[in-house]
């Protein structure tokens, strides 16, 4: 018997007015798996995360494709059914922990909503549960934190609160949308370690969206790379770092390994990422690619498996 993937995306295409934010993205996450979704800003990776929870900012629309959570089609659900999933099965860890908390309410009030809604806890029980959760996340004096307003807490503390909120109702899929980007380096490391520990303990399927390959290196089981709204490569983490096949991924890796911007340029990332308006008719990366061929201008390369579990969309790897 095969279990359905925790999350499965089929040809997901999202449009913002005249702009295509993603184009026919296919992804699958097994239960308990961590998938790192990597790309520069504007590549469409955050859009994928928002599309899954069906909370795209205006004027974003899902134009085509399917999203399945444990085999259940999310796009076919009513708004009410969707609401029952949000905060329960589906959780989101946002990017900027300051703007993600409501400035007008105490932490204790706003952090316990999901517990009260989905687990039917009373206010006191929800607060006690939240204190316990925060304690598990290494927050000393959690009861005191719940008495405070968001602006009275540090960035790291706010992110811990948001992580505790996300995990409070035992979700089966967590979307972490650049959860460490807005934090300083020390706090970043702490939050990453925390997420790692949570993952080891709970084994929740996680879509980890980030622009930093280094961040997902030891957290993700697999990595998917996006460029200009298209998925260009996906592979198990070890395989990707060992044998990246797409010139763009190779460039990203060079950036991480040498921590040198010029190295990245020499390795193949140049030019500005294009924006799609319609179905791509050529490789979107051709403008920045050092190994451009005539065919790159003519057709969009399809995603091809080059090794077990390793797929790449590049004309260099179209032959079998």
């Amino acid at each position: 018997m095969t279990t359905a993937p925790a999350l499965e995306l089929r040809t997901l295409t999202v449009r913002y007015g005249a702009r295509l934010a993603t184009w026919e993205v296919d992804l699958a996450l097994d239960p308990g798996e961590v998938l790192g979704l990597v790309g520069e800003s504007g590549a469409g990776k955050s859009t994928v995360g928002r599309a899954v929870v069906r909370l795209l900012p205006e004027p974003g629309r899902i134009e085509a494709g399917a999203i399945r959570l444990h085999g259940r089609d999310l796009l076919g659900l009513s708004e009410t059914e969707m609401r029952r999933l949000r905060g329960a099965d589906l959780a989101l860890i946002p990017q900027d922990p300051l703007s993600a908390l409501n400035p007008a309410f105490r932490i204790g009030f706003q952090a316990t909503d999901a517990l009260r809604i989905h687990r039917g806890l009373t206010r006191d029980a929800a607060v006690a549960e939240m204190v316990r959760l925060l304690g598990d996340l290494g927050v000393p004096e959690a009861a005191d934190v719940l008495q405070r307003y968001p602006h009275e807490l540090s960035g790291g503390m706010r992110q811990r609160v948001l992580i505790a909120m996300a995990f409070s109702c035992d979700p089966t899929l967590v979307i972490a949308d650049e959860p460490t980007t807005a934090l300083d380096v020390t706090t970043q490391a702490q939050i990453l370690r925390l997420l790692e520990e949570l993952q080891a303990e709970r084994r929740v399927a996680t879509l980890f969206v980030t622009h930093d390959l280094g961040v997902v290196a030891h957290l993700a089981h697999r990595v998917a790379v996006m460029y200009a709204g298209c998925l260009v490569e996906s592979a198990p983490t070890g395989e990707l770092f060992r044998a990246a096949a797409h010139p763009y991924t190779q460039g990203l890796l060079a950036q991480v390994l040498r921590a040198d911007v010029r190295a990245a340029a020499s390795a193949g990332i140049e030019g500005v990422m294009p924006q799609l308006a319609a179905a791509p008719t050529a490789c979107p990366f051709r403008g920045g690619c050092s190994r451009r061929m005539a065919i790159c201008d003519e057709t969009m390369p399809a995603l091809r498996e080059v090794a077990p579990g390793h797929a790449v969309a590049c004309h260099l790897h179209q032959g079998t």
Partner: protein, 336 residues
Amino acid sequence: MSVRFLLSRLLLAVLSLWGVSVLVFAILRILPGDPAVLMAPVGSTVQDIERVRREFGLSGSWWAQYGAFFLSLCRGNFGRSLWLQQDALRVILERLPATLELAVTALVLATGGGVLLGACSVWRRRSWLESGAVTLGTLGIAVPNFVWGLLLIVLFGAILQLLPISGRIAPEYEAAEVTGSAVVDVLLRRDPAALGSVLAHLILPASALALPLLAAVFRTIRSDLLGALGEEYVVTERMKGLGEARILFWRVLRNALIPTATLIGVQFGFLIGGTVLIETIFAWPGIGQLTLQAFQYRDFPLIQGIVLVYAVTVILSNLAVDVAYSFLNPRVRLVS
């Protein structure tokens, strides 16, 4: 909220009160013309004018005059009303509750109505409710409230004949005043019919007074809500599985109330000023109606007292708004 913040606001209020006394003094005495002639009743004899001059300390240097004026104000002596032949302050204070009742009702209507209408217009985008509310917002701000008053009188009083258009209560329910507030009085009497009559008399003038502020509140709330819906924290609220209405009408609205509190503080003075005309149009026996009557009798001690009492009301309500604001906005407490 810090004590320092409260004290600084209190000090500011006292300073404003002093400033108003200077301004009133300047307007009534420094403008061209002999103030004694101006203040004396029409047809006064030379002796009358001299008596006015003595009574108001209108001889000597401006400084000496102001000093005498200020001292008598501090003692609560606003002079004697020429028209009613009574202590001016007492006349005003007797009428003040009626004005406050009207103004507070209008404030409640404007705030409640504006917030509700603003939130509903965002909740039901692209509906008749939204376009209706936006039109009312445009008209409400532009059209002065005495025009609203006349329109309401024509519509509800003359055409529909639904509501009374003058006074505070129907004659058959009239009784001696106890608290000064007709609403509180009839509540104390436990007389539902009288209460109905009082509310029916209150609704039109209060609505006319409220409409411009209601429109202003509506527009602030609406633009704040529309802006706030794009904020990250709204995504977090939605990600908890909260319903749209609960998010909009409680979680987001609470944030939008903070700038609205400031707006109401700034605009309350305009609302209070509106009572002069509204009370005259609706024959509402408060200090607004008294103002224009005092002008007819050229009763300057009374006018001077009315201006001062109006200013005190505005200054005190601004103080109250400042305090309320610091309760609403948790961040002010730290900053101040």
